[in-house]
Symmetry: C2
Subunit: 159 residues, 2 copies
DNA sequence: CGTCATTTAGTTGTGCACAACTGAATTGTG
DNA sequence: CACAATTCAGTTGTGCACAACTAAATGACG
């Protein structure tokens, strides 16, 4: 008998979600330390990563890359603007849209950020292949959960 | 040449942290749907899990199990108390301590929560062994990150 | 052309995470 | 016993996530 009794599923240490949360928060702790020099929080760092990689973007596109909506991004971008790292400019072509542009200071910060991923990777104690494998697992998990979330939506079904 | 250029480390899709965050938020989305019936948020559910498993506990112990401090737990527990699921009582023996006790209603809620883990597990699309393995990986990661966070603390060193 | 649905940022409100602090109770030490 | 250090819960302030909403601009269609 290798099946698990229902009640045991409730046991805290059986919950992946708990492990995932713990890992996520532990990451947050390491990032907090590493990013303090750059004056960035972790979500702000993610926004900067996207801008460094893809160049200037409207808020909408930024949100798609990061899976964040304007409710999260609007105040975050204001803080980045107050820090002098980005500017926000209404698009001339479409006045609904706001372009987020790196300032010189924001672009320059990339140099100092180059060592961040290596420090983080070192902190994990994982080698590159282990990281890659874990990442693949997590992405698979995310995809499954997103699909399931749609199905669970009452009266909505799958599109 | 299989080594990765430094600049590529900055690429968003190479960041485990991003995958981890995405998975964590995707989990949050599924839990939000599944727990809505119970009237619980996901962190509130975690608190209830601990209480169901371990019985009444002081806030301190609860925080140790969940890696949360009073700044997070105090308002959360107030909301659980307002919902009638727990009571908070100053310990007679040590008046600094506050015991968190399940009410009858709080204890009864466990019955309805029994199906939650199975629904979540189903949503992941992973089988029991895959879940177990992922969990082990994540716990290993968390332990490494916690250790690294201590070392990174400037001027603090390892104890 | 005018109307209406859609798109896009932004705002508001709720809840969580965490740092820094307060204040009360307890413990350790002389 | 007195008093300093520690422990514990709570509060405050900042920042993020997300739902629900607003307001303005755009686009589609009759």
């Amino acid at each position: 008998m290798t099946t698990t009794p229902t009640a045991d599923w409730l046991r805290l240490d059986q919950q992946i979600c708990f492990s995932l949360n713990a890992a996520s928060r532990a990451f947050g702790g390491v990032y907090r330390v590493v990013l303090k020099d750059l004056g960035l929080t972790y979500p702000q760092y993610l926004v900067m990563l996207v801008l460094w990689e893809r160049g200037d973007l409207p808020v909408k596109k930024l949100g798609e890359h990061l899976r964040l909506d304007s409710g999260t991004l609007s105040p975050l971008l204001k803080r980045l603007e107050a820090a002098g790292l980005v500017r926000r400019e209404r698009s001339a072509r479409d006045e609904r849209s706001v372009e987020v542009r790196l300032t010189g200071e924001g672009a320059a910060l990339r140099e100092r950020a180059l060592e961040v991923p290596r420090r983080i990777a070192a902190a994990t104690g994982f080698d590159v292949d282990e990281i890659r494998e874990l990442r693949a697992r997590l992405d698979q998990l995310t995809a499954a959960l997103d699909a399931a979330a749609l199905e669970e939506m009452p009266g909505q079904g799958v599109q």
